[in-house]
Each structure stands twice: as structure tokens, then as C-alpha cells.
């Protein structure tokens, strides 16, 4: 029998025990939790035309094609079905799998994607959409008018925008496999815009899949025509997409916003839900992720000098909005709403919420001035009523109102810190005016439930996405909480929807903005944009309508 001293035994046991730990620490940092990038796999020849990225300059030297792009997203998608939900994260993932008939170019105007062309009859009541030929779905089948019809019909039963379009469609016919003819019962100015939308989008999937799902069942493995195929969804871990080798490659020979040529570089995309902001940030810093979104502007300052992390700014795609309930007995009073508008300090609220002017700009016009969806409708009409910061005027207007000190319930939340901070500042403005504010901090899910009930609130804070067509922005919707509906605005809205002439539409929009400052249906503070952080090697991510990566490359 071999004798071993206790001291020797303990020393050896400790060494054995420490082995896994040492091994764990001495491994090189694995770039992916599940699979290393496949950079060493057979490199494909580089594209003859260097893909011009949408948000940053074209890379000087691109690494061989391939590899896995690891994307830290703000959370899990509620569904993989693009017709099912308006959740941003669903848009972000499914925009790589499925495609719409139209999309947006770099000037944020509508351009064909799966459609080849669209024509409108002289009376505006017949829309003819020609489809591109030879477009393959991921299952190998060619896309035809049957698939488009089935997809649009399902979408029309699920999405608000779909209902809006199909209320105006009398019949939809297919004279040949590549043509669809919409006979409309009214002119509809936003036909192509609605079909370009990426939120609960009118995406085209094979008829068989769409018919089997109906509008009641979610599609969990969408089959599309997009640059990436759906592979697997491990809930709360990742969604994995792989490059579609028979992808049609988009339109034309150079990228143009979300349209134009599309040349996917990465073999695989992995969307990894990472709800904690600091983890997303640390993940990109440590090389664990290549991209992270939903970064708090306060944190961005720390990264400006980083050599390993890059910042990518989005377009001015959102506007912070504080909705006023026009069904409430208290706030249906126009003078009270005007008094609120007179006293607010939008600059202070935006600074509190968004930190640096890099991410916000004060803007009284309803649409962004430039570099944001709907910029074509920017106008200064009636903007003199914005940013008054006048307590004197506010008190005068309040005196003319019927307000008698009733409590005003202001709903906010802490899940979106910028909303909370903005509301804190405006709440102080309203208190200074002499309003009896009841500031309620609840969670976001509760805000969404309560804002739908007119008897439960007077004010709530959110942000709305700007839209390439202003009539489609949320506050123009008469049933959106806040309920801006009366004969004047309803008539203007209808006119915007029916007028096809751009000049006439612009003049109508000016009237909308004028009415906005007369009636103050809500308080809009300005425009904001998102910031994304990426590995310094990642170039060319697109940012609108959602972050997209089919033009992104990894430099060596």
C-alpha cells in the first residue's frame, strides 16, 4: 500500500480541485456562448461591388465572408410571426427573414422590393402591382401572386394597418401569376407606405404556410424570401438565422437604405435577448457581442474614446410625446391644455431624458426637419406656440379654463428611464402652473393597460415612431389613447388619406399642424434618435426602419 502524507494529499487534492477553475480562466475568451464565428469556413469571393453601408462609411478592407454576428437585443420577441405583433424586436428579427412588396430608400421614401412596379389609374381607384419574377422562398418555391394575396389577406385580419387598407379595397384580382390589381372604393394616398411598413408588416410568406396558420395561430418558423433563413429559436437564449444562398440580392447594383442591392456577409445571425443594459454594454466591450441596442445615452459618453467599440447613431425616428386624455372631464378643456403647452420647458425635459443633444433636438414641428422619416412634411406653421415657457401666459389661460383644482393623473414608468425623467420635469412645470398633479409611477405593462381606459388617466408619457407619411403617426389615429377626434381633425385626416397630389397633401398637413397648436391634443417635445454600440470592426449596419445587418461586414 502506498502511503501518502496528509500534507501531500491535501496539496494534491487542492491542485486537482483548482484545475477546472484554472482551465476555465485560461481559455481564450470564447467569442460566442454557443459557437465560435465560422470565419475559417470556406471564404466566398468578395462582392464585386463593395456594399455601401447605410449608417457608416464603407469598410476599407473586409474580412472573408462568413462568421456569426452576435447581436444583443433588449429582450425576447413575443412571437416569430411578423403579422402577429407590432413589437420592435419582432420587426428587427423578421426583417431579415421576410420581405415586403415595398421598402424605404436612403431618403426614407418608398421603393419596390418584392414588387417590380406599381401603377395608379388616373382616378386613383385602381392600383396595379407587378411582382418580380424568379423570387424564391426559403423552401425553394417561387413567389407568385397567390402567395402575395394569401399573405395580405391574413395580414389584413391581424394588423391595424392591414384593416385600414382593406377597408378601402373592393376586390383583389390576379390577372396573371405576377400581377395583382386592387380595385379601391376610395383613393388611398398611403397605399405603398402601408405596404412598406416593417411594424406588424405586410410580409409575403408562402400561401401554404399562411393558410395553415390562419389569423388565429402564430407562425413559429416563418418562411420568407429574405437574406436569412429561420433556423431555431431557443427561448430566452437566442434566435438563429442562417444565410439564404439562393437569395435574390435585392434591387439594382448598389445599396439604397433598406432597399437597393442586399449582399449578406455573415453566415449566421444570432439575436440574443439581453434585458439588462449594463450586460449588453459589457458584452460588446468584452467581445462577447458584436452589437448592442437600447443603450442609455448617459453611458455613451464613456465609450466615445474607445478603440474597440463604435457608436452608430440612428435617424431622428422617434418623438417623445405626453398624451392628454381628451375624453377626461378635466382635460377635455382646451384652455387647460393650452395652459399646459404654454408652461412646459421641452429643452429641460429632453435633456433630463436623453442626456446629450447628440440624441435629442427640440422641435415644435410635428415632423423632423431632416434625416428622419416624414422630413418632407416639415413645416414651421404655428410653431411659435411651442417652447414658450411662459408661466404668465399659462396662468392667464388657466384662468380662462374651467379647471378647479381636480387631481390630474400623470402615468409614467421607470422601465424607460427617459420617459420617467421627461415626466418629472414636465410635472414640475405643471405644479408651478398650479395644477394638482398626481404623479403615478407604474410599470410599462400597467401603463399600456390603463391608457386604454379613458376613466383612469389624464396624462401619460411615451414616444412614437415618426412615420414616412405623417398621417400614419400614432397621434393621428383617432382610436389611439388620447383620442384626437372631432369634426375638424377627422376631416383633415380624411383629406390627407384621399389626396394623392403631394403639394395639396403638404398644404393639408400644414392645417393639421395649425390645428394641433389650437387644440393641443398632446405635448410633443422634439425628435430623438437611438444609439447602437458595435464592435469597432463591424461596419455598415442599417438603422431604419429597424437595425438591419444584411449589408454589414466585419473588417479584418
Amino acid at each position: 500500500m502506498i502511503r501518502i502524507s496528509r500534507r501531500k494529499f491535501l496539496a494534491q487534492a487542492a491542485a486537482v480541485g483548482a484545475l477546472p477553475l484554472l482551465a476555465a480562466c485560461s481559455q481564450p475568451a470564447t467569442p460566442s456562448p454557443t459557437a465560435a464565428p465560422k470565419a475559417t469556413e470556406a471564404p466566398k469571393p468578395a462582392a464585386t461591388t463593395a456594399p455601401a453601408p447605410a449608417a457608416t462609411k464603407a469598410p476599407a478592407a473586409a474580412a472573408p465572408k462568413g462568421g456569426t454576428l452576435r447581436l444583443a437585443t433588449i429582450g425576447e420577441t413575443p412571437s416569430m410571426d411578423p403579422h402577429f405583433t407590432t413589437a420592435n424586436i419582432n420587426t428587427e428579427i423578421t426583417a431579415h427573414i421576410t420581405e415586403t412588396l415595398f421598402t424605404y430608400d436612403e431618403k426614407l421614401a418608398n421603393v419596390p422590393l418584392l414588387a417590380e412596379s406599381a401603377e395608379t389609374s388616373s382616378d386613383g381607384l385602381t392600383r396595379t402591382v407587378k411582382l418580380r419574377k424568379g423570387i424564391k422562398f426559403h423552401n425553394g418555391k417561387e413567389m407568385t401572386a397567390d402567395d402575395v394575396e394569401a399573405s395580405l389577406l391574413r395580414w389584413s385580419k391581424m394588423a391595424g394597418r392591414g384593416k385600414m387598407l382593406f377597408q378601402r379595397v373592393d376586390s383583389l384580382s390576379k390577372p396573371d401569376p405576377y400581377t395583382l390589381v386592387f380595385k379601391m372604393n376610395a383613393r388611398f394616398s398611403v397605399f405603398e407606405t402601408i405596404l412598406s411598413f416593417r411594424s406588424q408588416a405586410a410580409v409575403i410568406m408562402p400561401k401554404e404556410q399562411v393558410v395553415a396558420a390562419t389569423e388565429k395561430n402564430q407562425i413559429s418558423n416563418p418562411i420568407g424570401t429574405g437574406p436569412y433563413k429561420f433556423e431555431e429559436w431557443l427561448k430566452d437564449r437566442y434566435v438563429r438565422l442562417s444565410r439564404f444562398d439562393k437569395y435574390h440580392g435585392g434591387v439594382g447594383d448598389k445599396p439604397n437604405g433598406a432597399g437597393g442591392k442586399r449582399a449578406p456577409f455573415f453566415e449566421e445571425l444570432r439575436f440574443m435577448p439581453t434585458p439588462d443594459q449594463s450586460v449588453r454594454l459589457a458584452g460588446v466591450q468584452s467581445g462577447e457581442f458584436d452589437y448592442a441596442e437600447g443603450i442609455n445615452p448617459d453611458q455613451v459618453g464613456l465609450l466615445k474614446d474607445s478603440k474597440t467599440v463604435s457608436l452608430v447613431l440612428g435617424v431622428w425616428s422617434k418623438c417623445p410625446t405626453h398624451y392628454i386624455n381628451k375624453k377626461s372631464e378635466i382635460t377635455k378643456d382646451v384652455k387647460l391644455r393650452q395652459a399646459m403647452m404654454a408652461v412646459i420647458d421641452p429643452e429641460a425635459a429632453l435633456k433630463a431624458g436623453w442626456g446629450s443633444p447628440d440624441f435629442y433636438r427640440t422641435n415644435g414641428a410635428l415632423m423632423p426637419k431632416e434625416d428622419g422619416p416624414g422630413w418632407q412634411y416639415y413645416t414651421q406653421v404655428a410653431v411659435e406656440n411651442f417652447n414658450k415657457k411662459s408661466l404668465e401666459l399659462g396662468k392667464k389661460l388657466l384662468g380662462e379654463s374651467n379647471y378647479k383644482g381636480e387631481p390630474i393623473r400623470y402615468l409614467t414608468n421607470r422601465e424607460y428611464p427617459n420617459m420617467y425623467q421627461e415626466a418629472v420635469v414636465l410635472n414640475q412645470n405643471f405644479q408651478a402652473l398650479g395644477l394638482n398633479m398626481k404623479f403615478e409611477v407604474i410599470d410599462w405593462a400597467s401603463v399600456v393597460t390603463r391608457r386604454a381606459k379613458p376613466e383612469e388617466w389624464e396624462l401619460f408619457v411615451t414616444w412614437n415612431g415618426h412615420n414616412v407619411d405623417p398621417v400614419l403617426i400614432d397621434f393621428m389615429d383617432p382610436v389611439y389613447p388620447g383620442w384626437w377626434t372631432n369634426p375638424k381633425i377627422d376631416a383633415l385626416r380624411d383629406k390627407m388619406l384621399e389626396t394623392l397630389d403631394p403639394k395639396e397633401r403638404f398644404a393639408t398637413w400644414e392645417n393639421v399642424q395649425r390645428l394641433f397648436y389650437e387644440e393641443v391634443p398632446l405635448l410633443k417635445l422634439g425628435d430623438v434618435r437611438d444609439v447602437y454600440i458595435t464592435s469597432a470592426k463591424l461596419k455598415g449596419i442599417g438603422v431604419y426602419p429597424a437595425p438591419f445587418f444584411w449589408q454589414a461586414t466585419m473588417t479584418s
Binding site: N88, A159, Q218, P275, S446, D477
Partner: protein, 316 residues
């Protein structure tokens, strides 16, 4: 002993019934609509109503409760609204990360806490004792999420030795699994280790003052022998209580730690499900955690009996 175990197992039934009712009432009475969360921020109210109907949320509460309870009694915890999969499957997929995280954290706490307490007791009133106890006090006071972030900044961001976040299943790659769980387990286990060190120290000091220890010393036994054979077994009872209780605390702490390290475990599932208002998952997860908690306590009680014959005798 057997009767006692059966009796304890039977108490599971009323406890779980109470938990079921309380959880169901709490989550359904709180504001927040799962259909609205599913439909997204820009959904129309018509769409939200359509979904509410499809999800059965427009049925009266007692009817919803009854249908859930009858399914649960058959072992069916329902279907997650958000994840679109059975709750039992969602839980099964997340038990491994939480189980391993808790286990590693417990091992950390024992490996660090136990020797630290013994060393401090052996060197009482010296600088070693003071240093150990001040460190332990710090360990108890430091919030695990903050410590976790510090670990990430140091080991993942600065040194790049360990991954900042994520998870690899043990079955896929045991070593990678360890790499992903080392930091979370350490940050989670630190508090338990500190507590254990303090308890072991005071318990050891108490035992070392006992007559039989003095007798052993008088017999001329070596100090190490006295410590290992006589003092430690007797000082272990309070330590066992702490270790047992730690299981519950660690399971609870795993909720925060899993959020910090993005570990796809039961804790993160519960937190996310609360935010998503995924009622079936919250109900199923809380019921399961309650059952696990009771069972762990039972195991600890059995371990007492194994270690201490007096308890074994008393239970007869």
C-alpha cells in the same frame, strides 16, 4: 423518521394550494394586460381585444382559476402566452442553469466559508481572525448584483478572461459551462460564504470552550486531531442550518444574479414573465419554486438527523 418525512410531504398539499390561490389573485388583480404586451406598443385596441379573446383572458376570473387548477392537478401547468410553449417545458429548459448556478454557489460558499470560519476561530483575537471577520462582514454587506458587475468589469471587460454574459449547457460543453457560471456563482456564493464563516467561527469558539475539548487536550491529543475529530462535528450543526437556509437564499438570489449575467434560468424567467404579464409561467414557476423550497428544507432536516443522533432519537 419515515412517518415524519411522510407528514412533512403531506404538508406540501395545503401550502401549495395557498400559494396557488395567492399567486393567481395577485397577478390577476395587478394591472397589466398580457395581450397588450404581446401585441406591441403600436397595436390597436381592436387587435388587443382580439388577442384577449384568443387567449381566454376575457373569461370571468373564477372560471379562469378553475380551469387552471383542474389542469394543474392533472400535471398540466398550462401554456406560456409569450413563449408559446408549455410552462412545464419552459421550466425544464431553465432548471439546469439555475440548479448548477445554485450548486456552484453553494460549493463556493462551503469551500470559502468553512475554512475561513475555522481558521478565524483557531486564531481568535489575532490579526488573522480580525481580517477574516472584516472580510466576511464586507461579504455580507456587498449586494451580489453590484459585486457581479465589478467581476464582469474586471474579468470580462478588462482582462477578457471570462465571458461577460450568457450560458452554455453542461451537456454541450462542461468546461464552457463552468466558464460561464464561475463569476455568477462566485458573486452569488460570496454572501453565503461570509455568513457561513461567521457562524462557523462562533460555533467553533463555543465548542472549543467545552469540557470534552479540555479533556482531550489534557489527554495530550494533537490540536489538529482535536479539531477534526471532536470540535468540528459538534460545531457543524449550526453550519448545516446555514447551508440549508442558504439553498433558499441562493435560489432567491439567483433571480438577481441571472439578470446580471444574462443566465437563462428560472429566476430570469420569473422576472421577465412578470414584466411580460405571462400569467401561466408566473403561476407555474412560483408553485415549482415553493415545492422545491419545502423539499430542500425537508432534506436539511433529514441531514440534521444523520449528523446529530440526539435529533434522530428525539424523532422516534
Amino acid at each position: 423518521m419515515g412517518t415524519q418525512i411522510i407528514r412533512r410531504l403531506l404538508t406540501l398539499v395545503p401550502v401549495l394550494a395557498v400559494v396557488a390561490v395567492v399567486v393567481f389573485m395577485l397577478i390577476h388583480l395587478a394591472p397589466g394586460d398580457p395581450a397588450a404586451v404581446m401585441a406591441g406598443n403600436e397595436a390597436t385596441s381592436e387587435r388587443i381585444e382580439q388577442l384577449r379573446h384568443q387567449m381566454g383572458l376575457d373569461r370571468p376570473l373564477p372560471e379562469q382559476f378553475l380551469s387552471w387548477v383542474t389542469s394543474a392537478l392533472r400535471g398540466d401547468l398550462g401554456e406560456s402566452y409569450f413563449l408559446n410553449q408549455p410552462v412545464s417545458l419552459s421550466l425544464m429548459q431553465r432548471i439546469e442553469p439555475t440548479g448548477l448556478l445554485t450548486l456552484y454557489a453553494l460549493l463556493f460558499s462551503i469551500v470559502i466559508g468553512l475554512p475561513a470560519g475555522i481558521i478565524a476561530a483557531m486564531n481568535r483575537n489575532t490579526w488573522i481572525d480580525r481580517l477574516t471577520m472584516v472580510t466576511a462582514l464586507g461579504g455580507v454587506c456587498i449586494p451580489s448584483f453590484w459585486f457581479g458587475i465589478l467581476l464582469i468589469l474586471f474579468f470580462a471587460v478588462s482582462l477578457r478572461w471570462l465571458p461577460a454574459a450568457g450560458y452554455v449547457p453542461f451537456t454541450e460543453d462542461p468546461l464552457a459551462n463552468l466558464r460561464y457560471l464561475v463569476m455568477p456563482a462566485f458573486s452569488l456564493g460570496l454572501q453565503a460564504a461570509a455568513l457561513l464563516a461567521r457562524v462557523v467561527r462562533s460555533s467553533m469558539l463555543e465548542v472549543l470552550r467545552e469540557d470534552y475539548i479540555r479533556t482531550a487536550r489534557a489527554k495530550g491529543l494533537r490540536e489538529r486531531f482535536i479539531l477534526v475529530r471532536h470540535a468540528m462535528p459538534n460545531a457543524m450543526i449550526p453550519a448545516l442550518t446555514i447551508i440549508g437556509n442558504s439553498m433558499g437564499t441562493l435560489l432567491g438570489g439567483a433571480v438577481v444574479t441571472e439578470a446580471v449575467f444574462n443566465t437563462p434560468g428560472v429566476g430570469r424567467l420569473v422576472v421577465q414573465s412578470v414584466l411580460r404579464r405571462d400569467f401561466p409561467v408566473i403561476q407555474g414557476a412560483v408553485l415549482t419554486i415553493a415545492a422545491v423550497y419545502i423539499l430542500v428544507n425537508l432534506v436539511v432536516d433529514i441531514a440534521y438527523a444523520v449528523v446529530d443522533p440526539r435529533i434522530r432519537e428525539g424523532s422516534r
